[in-house]
């Protein structure tokens, strides 16, 4: 495992800029998640590190070594692709052993066998080692793909939305497993996703990408509670952060220049009161919690509420802010 640094990396495809001046250090043994919408440059960043694309500008070092111009094979990285990139005519065992059979490695068969079985157990596919890789379910295929990266001990694991094609239950399971495995191995891991839950639960640090730029990087807590701007604030939080004009609700202590106020559930205080300043427009019952849709004049808000909260559609409430986030006219955060 090793440290990987990107310094001022840029890449354009024809007229479209994919990655724009991104600098980032992934520390040894760290789990970094790049979070951003489709087209933000997440995958391109991974491909640049792996050497599947060449940057137009900037420097990439892996374990202190400048890898400019180095072929993917010599960079000592492992890559998990978004599609199940298994070798379809090989068995699970052969797929896992494939990276170890490289002549550059010169491993003994016994050593390969031990490693394959160990990793198969780790990703819980050891009962299907002799199956053809095309005869597996989606979750199993993706576990094999992850396993094929794990059999090696590369400088860094690069994972491109490996869980995005799985169903929700399996995704939650594999999320935990992946974090556990990374802890066990002490692996350096750069993980790309557009799923905020994956980012929040697995990352040591989250990097927010938007339009090819790295907007903010920090621990999940930091990114969540101290977003640098509106874009970052909007990436995290369920339900989505409410963006309100300054002065709509009482209870804030806005600094000068505040244009927009960002209020998540924890920034809103609800108390039943008539006449109140807001009205319950709609309630979505999710079982363990309720989504309250609230109308304040022309504006609509969504917030979470305890399912036992005795409140009904059409009720008047008093809505107050408590330490919300303040943004200026340009969308930058004010403190």
């Amino acid at each position: 495992m090793a440290e990987v640094t990107l310094a001022g990396i840029s890449k354009t495809f024809g007229q479209t800029g994919a990655v724009d001046n991104v600098s980032l250090t992934i520390r040894d043994g760290e789990f970094v998640v790049l979070l951003g919408p489709t087209g933000a440059g997440k995958t391109t960043t991974l491909r640049l590190i792996a050497g599947l694309e060449a940057p137009d500008a900037g420097r990439i070092t892996i374990a202190g070594r400048d890898v400019a111009g180095a072929a993917p094979a010599t960079r000592d990285v492992a890559f998990v692709f978004q599609q199940y990139s298994l070798y379809p005519h090989l068995t699970v065992y052969e797929n896992l052993a494939f990276p170890l059979r490289s002549p550059a490695r010169r491993l003994h068969d016994a050593e390969i066998d031990a490693r394959v079985r160990e990793v198969a157990k780790m990703v819980r596919i050891d009962h299907k080692l002799q199956n053809r890789s095309t005869r597996l379910s989606g979750g199993e295929m993706q576990r094999v793909a992850i396993g094929r990266a794990l059999v090696r001990k590369p400088a860094i694991y690069l994972m491109d939305e490996p869980l995005s094609s799985l169903d929700a239950k399996l995704r939650a399971e594999l999320r935990l497993e992946l974090k556990r495995i990374q802890n066990e191995l002490g692996a350096t891991l750069l993980y790309v996703t557009h799923d905020q839950v994956e980012a929040m639960t697995m990352a040591d640090r989250i990097g927010i990408l938007a339009e090819g730029k790295l907007v903010q990087i920090g621990s999940p807590r930091e990114i969540y509670s101290n977003p640098a701007n509106l874009h970052v604030a909007a990436r995290l939080g369920q339900p989505h952060i409410n963006l309100l004009p300054q002065g709509l609700l009482p209870g804030c202590n806005a600094p000068a220049g505040t244009k927009t106020i960002g209020a998540r559930t924890e920034h809103l205080e609800i108390s039943a009161s008539t006449p109140g300043n807001a009205e319950i427009d709609w309630i979505e019952h999710l079982g363990d919690q309720n989504h309250l849709h609230i109308k304040v004049g022309e504006h609509k808000l969504v917030t979470l509420a305890d399912p036992y909260l005795a409140i009904q559609r059409g009720d008047r409430i008093d809505l107050k802010l408590r330490n919300p986030l303040y943004f200026d006219a340009g969308g930058q955060r004010l403190t």
Binding site: A50, L52, A71, P72, A73, V77, A78, F79, F81, Q83, S85, Y87, P88, H89, L90, F98, P99, S102, P103, A104, R105, R132, T134, R148, R152
Partner: protein
């Protein structure tokens, strides 16, 4: 449970039927959908029966008789399995079968090797690869009659371009060898023309196979440190194999009944060195006029090709399922 399901289905079907404003069935004078379906496929079935199935059955019948097409009024005698016995013990026919096997083997080998190599090169997606694909496909688009006649000129010892080029490269005088007239070269002259004409076809099928392999498999292999050689043998070949096998099947069936090229180039000669099965068959049927025996031979060929193709398709399916 099942009953209630069907009633729901029936209800929704009924609903769909009534909600269609003017159903097709009602417009065509009360015919049911089934009747309309038959109406549409009957012409095809009739045609197939008339020009494929009936002649086949008729040929089977004739193969047990002493029928001669040049004496249609002679008394038809049932000879039982005699025709089959004669065909299978005729040494000329066995030689023709060997000649055919020789052609099939070499044309398939050359066409697959060259066709796959060309496909592999074209798949590199260099500048102008679409143009070169079209250029390579030209021989396949020509009529076999044209190809045969032109190659007769190319093989001409005095003025032929082929002989000239060979002499230019090797230094052998051009008129010192005759591609079509020499016993040792004539089979190869046909193999060369068939390969020239049909390699593009094999290339096209192989190209489809290569294009079906997604890029990310290669990228994964690249990151996994597989050399280009290893990628070729452990990804390209296994994943393109079903397509290659399909090309071999098509070319194999086609060349087993190779007739036009042989007829145009050598007519089976010199002597009978290039006399493939279909030429022998034609001689039996339309020169010796032993229609009964020719029919028996044709049936034997048909069963052989059909049987081999079936075994092969089973193998192909096995490869595909992997």
């Amino acid at each position: 449970m099942i009953n209630s399901d069907t009633t729901i289905l029936e209800k929704s079907a009924k609903h769909a039927a009534t909600s269609t404003p003017v159903s097709l069935a009602r417009r065509i004078g009360g015919l049911s959908d089934r009747a309309i379906a038959w109406l549409f496929i009957t012409p095809t079935i009739a045609l197939l029966l008339a020009i494929n199935i009936f002649p086949l059955i008729w040929a089977i019948r004739l193969s047990f008789t002493n029928y001669r097409a040049n004496r249609p009024n002679a008394v038809l005698e049932n000879v039982g399995l005699q025709n089959y016995h004669r065909v299978l013990t005729d040494s000329d026919i066995w030689i023709a079968m060997q000649t055919t096997a020789h052609f099939v083997f070499w044309t398939i080998l050359l066409q697959t090797l060259i066709g796959f190599s060309l496909a592999y090169l074209i798949d590199r997606k260099f500048r102008g690869h679409a143009f070169w694909t079209t250029v390579i496909l030209i021989p396949m688009m020509l009529s076999p009659a044209v190809v045969g006649n032109f190659w007769r000129f190319l093989y001409q010892p005095q003025i032929g371009l082929f002989n000239y080029i060979v002499s230019y490269v090797t230094g052998v005088p051009p008129s010192s060898f005759e591609m079509l007239g020499s016993v040792s070269l004539a089979p190869w002259s046909i193999i060369i023309v068939d390969t020239w004409m049909w390699t593009p076809y094999v290339m096209l099928i192989c190209l489809a196979g290569l294009r079906s392999i997604p890029d990310y498999i290669y990228e994964a292999a690249e990151v996994d440190r597989a050399s280009a050689w290893r990628q070729f043998w452990s990804i390209t070949i296994p994943m393109a194999l079903p397509f290659i096998m399909l090309a071999v099947l098509f070319r194999g069936i086609e060349n087993f009944k190779m007739f036009d090229m042989v007829m145009l180039l050598t007519g089976g000669g010199p002597g009978s060195t290039t006399e493939v099965a279909s030429i022998t068959l034609k001689r039996e049927a339309f020169e010796s006029w032993r229609t009964g025996r020719a029919s028996a031979f044709a049936i034997i060929l048909f069963v052989a090709v059909f049987g081999l193709a079936n075994i092969y398709v089973k193998a192909l399916n096995k490869v595909k399922q992997r």
